[in-house]
Symmetry: C2
């Protein structure tokens, strides 16, 4: 199977490497071309444009920051669409708008091409270890055909319903993650202000009903003032914006999600966007130092 | 050792039973006296008042709903204080104000009595299985003397610093729990409104970065519409009020905690107070049915 991979960022690069190692012929494209070099060194072919990539690949995977990036790569002047022939499959593994996803799938269907939405969870470490959770929406038979690719990149691969179901499930995931990050940040910062031994307080609360993946995996980084990204605050903010937009379209009221969006937006405005999500605690530390003069 | 136990509610009763079974002589008091009967049937002695209990006990444990309850039992007209003689130890395992705790300890010191604050986490099931997390503040030597009692009731017993440190750590715990409950509720309700298979969405998000004790332990009850308490919404609301008061006294700003307090208060006002904390999701379901007419 000729596989194309577009978007070799912090997540996309290790994911593409796993596809290459699982024995597929791989063609790669990235807007910043030098990001292709490590993959090419491992045997991938570089493409000059998404269109050029599409001309030689049966399955085209995209892993990009946001909805407009996916739209440009698929339907732009040098986009996949230009060289698309019937029977090809587009798998978008980015986290983007569920409504846009359904729209893209409909446009691709005009050329008799299928689409799966397959956003992931598990961050950079999950991408590197091929332990990602992959949330797939689309036709069951297309999912089955593509399953070996997913299993090369992830450990928990789920087919969740028709096109868009992967993105919707990812939004559920991100709403929970963001609130659990706020929980971790307020808890750890409160422990510090209360003059507790923060390390010990963390150990105590992690063992009980307050326990979470965030406390197990990101809190230790906070305790070491390590704010390198796994998953960047600005991307969490973007996902919350997508969730908020989706919630508005269904006419619901989610005060926790609304609050996390406003707080993550504030964190980005304060210049924390490139930190890992554990750096959200700096929003509290910064306002503290303002408060204390 | 003669141990007294005051407050035989949903948590206190199984905790007192574990003390009895570990071989201590136990005297019990409860404001509603018939709650003493099961303990008396197992060999405990009933007392007519906290004062009467204090006259025969070396160690006096309190497990009560809120700060004023502990104050009344310790310092009221028929309170512990009336019969207190030097060398006795009071262990308050309720969740109450850290500032009030320090105040109570100072007053008890006037009669040369020591106090530990030792709030717990783990809920009714933890109390029954003797697997509670116990967060203790007070003098190290007093903690060591009382450790066998804690180990009869809990699995994870921590000495966290001077008097009040247990309560402060508990507030950290409750701030995180409450936000994780909001996270779970918004996530599961969003899955429902998005017309996903909620059971499957729960399984997917639990396995990754959104994972939490709440998703593992309380979400399955939500999926079965089982809102029986483990830990009641009205008590979670009370703990959030304590946390909010404490945060105000240290001059900090915790928007997530402020939001959870207002939402749990709304849940109590809507009559959800006696449900387990998983019933918090009904706040969303109720507003949804209002919205949809």
């Amino acid at each position: 199977m000729n596989v194309g991979f577009i978007g070799l960022g912090i997540m996309g690069r290790p994911m593409a490497e796993h596809i290459l190692r699982s024995g597929h012929r791989l063609t790669v494209f990235n807007r910043t071309p030098d990001k292709c070099a490590p993959l090419v060194a491992q045997g991938a072919s570089p493409a000059d444009s998404p269109a050029a990539l599409a001309s030689t690949c049966d399955i085209i995977i995209t892993m990009l920051p946001d909805t407009p990036d996916v739209e440009a790569v698929l339907f732009g002047a040098t986009g996949v669409w230009q060289e698309l022939t019937p029977g090809k499959v587009i798998i978008d593994m980015s986290t983007i708008s569920p409504a846009a996803t359904i729209n893209f799938a409909n446009r691709l269907a005009e050329k008799n091409c299928e689409m799966l939405d397959a956003p992931v969870s598990g961050g950079q470490s999950g991408a590197q270890a091929a332990t990602l959770t992959i949330m797939v929406g689309g036709k069951p038979e297309i999912f089955e055909n593509c399953k070996p690719l997913f299993e090369a990149m992830g450990k928990n691969v789920f087919h969740l319903g028709p096109i868009g179901s992967g993105q919707k499930t990812k939004l559920v995931n991100q709403v929970i993650c963001a609130l659990n990050i706020v929980a971790m940040s307020e808890g750890l910062h409160l422990a510090k202000l209360a003059e507790l031994d923060v390390q010990q307080a963390h150990k105590v609360v992690s063992s009980g009903a307050a326990g979470s993946w965030m406390l197990d995996n990101l809190a230790p980084r906070i305790l070491q003032d390590d704010f390198k990204p796994g998953f960047m605050i600005k991307l969490q903010q973007k996902d919350l914006r997508l969730a908020h937009e989706f919630i508005k379209t269904i006419g619901a009221d989610f005060p926790g999600t609304a609050l996390t969006l406003s707080m993550f937006t504030k964190a980005v405005e304060q210049g924390l966007g490139e930190q890992g999500t554990q750096g959200f605690i700096n929003l509290y530390r910064n306002s503290e130092s303002e408060f204390r003069g």
